[in-house]
């Protein structure tokens, strides 16, 4: 089977990748939930709003006033609004910044637990990280928002997971795989919707 002209034998994948495996990539389903563990600095430069179109107004700002410069260096600010109106999250020089971020930003994660965002993080990954700024999204929703194929988002997200910048969890906790109880709760939920 080793019919290579160079004579170099085929090597197992785990050797050719330097022993680095990426289990996260294969486990990402369409409905796996991606959560950003950190705030992407300079998101505005490479982020979703960095392309076409003017930045949207700050929901916490008086109408007609642009409070943020086009390019910012402070982490944790975002130009895309409307996802959640949480003006306290934005960096405002008048507010105690650390407090605001710790209290509102990521209640489920310890701030500082995630490594800093590498400066050379590719723009695509940066954009994805920016998309998760404001809440969790499933893989398929992220793909729809970024107008990317699901497979591409899997690769980008896996990279971010490997870097420790994003966490992923399966759609249903492994301990509670689809079962009768879950079906009943779905049925109950649908019934409640109609009321």
């Amino acid at each position: 089977m080793t019919g290579r002209r160079s004579g170099r034998p085929l090597v197992p994948a785990y050797v050719s990748t330097g022993g680095k495996t990426r289990p996260s990539r294969n486990s990402l389903e369409r409905l796996s939930v991606l959560t950003g563990l950190t705030i992407c600095p300079g998101e505005s430069a490479a982020g979703p709003s960095g392309g076409a179109g003017p930045p949207l107004p700050d929901p916490g700002a008086p109408p007609g006033v642009r409070t943020e410069p086009a390019v910012r260096t402070e982490p944790g600010v975002r130009t895309d609004s409307g996802v959640r109106a949480e003006p306290a999250v934005r960096h405002d020089p008048r507010q105690p910044r650390a407090e605001a971020r710790q209290e509102v930003r990521r209640p489920r994660h310890t701030p500082g637990a995630a490594p800093p965002v590498p400066g050379d993080l590719p723009a695509a990954q940066r954009t994805l990280l920016g998309t998760l700024d404001g809440g969790s999204l499933t893989v398929v929703e992220t793909a729809a928002v970024l107008a990317l194929p699901v497979s591409a988002v899997r690769v980008l997200a896996a990279h971010l997971i490997d870097l420790g910048l994003v966490s992923a969890r399966p759609p249903i906790p492994y301990a509670a795989q689809p079962d009768l109880d879950l079906l009943e709760r779905v049925a109950d939920g649908l019934r409640a919707l109609k009321l």
Partner: protein, 209 residues
């Protein structure tokens, strides 16, 4: 990419989301899959562009679609947040044989499928039913009613679609949220019955809520 966040209002998952489940809304083109999803979804239906595999391309060519150079298909989806931290995703899944490669992946982990049928062109639904059955998904049939639909008896339709007697078949105006939720409920009741618990009994027990 640039325009996406402006339309993502309320897109991020609620913090209460614990379990994410999916149901496929399957049917031929134009049967009303996206209409149904739109009528019940809490977000405006989103879509992803899916690449078809090489094998599918070959089938595509055989089908005589000569000028079709792109081999992508848009998959629409929406979601409903239910009580108890459950988020139900609805995936509109095309019913053509050439999308078979997509089916395995999209059907993975799905609770079941709601197969939409247009009674004006019942033949179009045979492929879908085949794909759903091959995927091993339990399903219910929803008859999307159009003004000019011919009236058939349930027996005629069941015979025509070759449905198992236990498979639910309901009329459903896909534009109507209540009708769509009813159809989904019928499916889930069917899943419960299949899973071994009487849906009616479960419904009665929990009726006082």
């Amino acid at each position: 990419m640039a325009s996406a966040p402006s339309s993502s209002s309320g897109l991020h998952l609620p913090d209460s989301a614990r379990e994410l489940v999916k149901i496929l809304v399957a049917g031929p083109f134009g049967v009303g899959k996206t209409t149904l999803i739109d009528s019940v979804s809490e977000i405006r239906p989103l879509h992803t562009e899916e690449q078809l595999s090489e094998a599918s391309v070959a089938v595509d060519d055989l089908a005589g679609v000569r000028d079709k150079t792109t081999t992508t298909v848009a998959i629409d989806f929406g979601r409903i947040s239910l009580n108890g931290g459950i988020v139900l995703y609805l995936f509109g899944t095309p019913g053509q044989e050439r999308f078979r490669s997509l089916w395995a992946e999209i059907a993975y982990g799905a609770l079941g499928a709601l197969v939409l049928v247009d009674t004006r062109r019942i033949d179009d639904s045979f492929e879908v039913l085949g794909l759903v059955e091959d995927a091993g998904l339990p399903y219910a049939v929803a008859l999307n009613t159009f003004p000019d639909s011919r009236q058939y008896t349930e027996e005629q339709l069941r015979t025509s679609l070759d449905l198992d007697p236990g498979t639910p078949m309901i009329a459903c105006d896909a534009r109507d949220a209540h009708a769509s939720v009813d159809a989904l409920s019928s499916l889930v009741q069917h899943l419960l019955i299949r899973a071994g618990r009487g849906g009616a009994a479960a419904g009665m027990r929990r009726a006082p809520r």
